[in-house]
Symmetry: C2
Subunit: 215 residues, 2 copies
Amino acid sequence: MARYEGVSASVIRRLPRYYRFLGELKAKGMERISSREFADIIGLTASQIRQDLNCFGGFGQQGYGYNIESLCAEIGRILNVDALRPTILVGAGNLGLALVNHMRFEARGFRLIGIFDSDPEKIGHTIRDWQIQDVARLEAFCQEHHPLAAILCIPKQVAVECADLLVQNGVKGFWNFTHQDLSIIYKDGIAVENVHLGDSLMTLSFNIAEVMDAE
Amino acid sequence: MARYEGVSASVIRRLPRYYRFLGELKAKGMERISSREFADIIGLTASQIRQDLNCFGGFGQQGYGYNIESLCAEIGRILNVDALRPTILVGAGNLGLALVNHMRFEARGFRLIGIFDSDPEKIGHTIRDWQIQDVARLEAFCQEHHPLAAILCIPKQVAVECADLLVQNGVKGFWNFTHQDLSIIYKDGIAVENVHLGDSLMTLSFNIAEVMDAE
DNA sequence: AGTCAAGGGTTAATTTAATTTACAATTGCG
DNA sequence: CGCAATTGTAAATTAAATTAACCCTTGACT
């Protein structure tokens, strides 16, 4: 049984936002906040925030509000940001490398343990602390180091083949930047977060057309 | 009046997916498809596809199905992928450059006309066809070349200042990779597409914890 | 030509989810 | 000790997404 079955996906998607804003407030030195103040900052309503949080338990105090530090810690625990799952990157192109250089994986529950690519030009090069390995060694690596998560920045044509191999070797989640919709393939038991940047850009295209027509 | 007021955001967000799959089918040489077949491929139901498309008009033929090429063209027209809006990139770090190198902007309604950064180390360097310019020249550049869209890959602290300057100089839409939620600031008249990769990664963290607990 | 099966257009019905409202219960503070 | 603030929570409301149903057109086959 999953920990939080029945909590809707939209609530889950708001948690990282709460976490992000709370982290900023904490950094500013604030100690407590009411749902109303928080709502103004984050752009929601007070009751929605209270209701979202109550899906997971009561983290506030009546008459006082929420303690920023402890609420932040609670949401971090719900999101499992301390898990430090062994994670690999497959595909060391521009995008993959940008992610390695930019993302604070350790602050979000992931620990990078390997980078793979098929391009002989790239294999052997070192990015930060990691040496790019031949994707041919992927299965052997999995059997030795047991990654739980994988970041896919590879061409669509090889995405399914690669993902299947990883699933068979124990990977439980994908951060998927390929054009292949993996969520269609793995219905249960595997977590997939698709990031379709192209779709996002086209949505923007539509919305720009809308606001320009509205004038 | 906007062109498609009243069409819900979730329908809009499905359009790029339709467009993407139709493009693949077209590339495979297929000519026609029924809503049922398409539903199986894309992972939805036939009637949802019919209903989504009917928000914009009737593109199919009863007893025949949809002509793939013309449906693809229609959706492209709705999404405005032929607009070729003058677009700038602000922030030439790893992520910004990965986007420039990877995204097919021209296929999605955008034409890159300039790249800006504040780092003297970067200014002057050439990426593909574009020379990185000093962000101090941003306003002058806008007044001369009138960009309509901007891709923001800059630190949170300068995001609002930069966005305000661009809005004042006619920019109508942002593809926002900063941690600053711009959609809170610009309610109407400006299109904002936030891409919070950190939030996406945390959502994955939650979902991996869920599937692992479910076992 | 005529018949029939296939399949989209369209409206209605259903289900589900998101949101708001409301108020009792609790706490901090003066 | 009492008041103002503010959460917890359930109920009510609203909105949206989804499914179902059926008519109508089209193309294919005889």
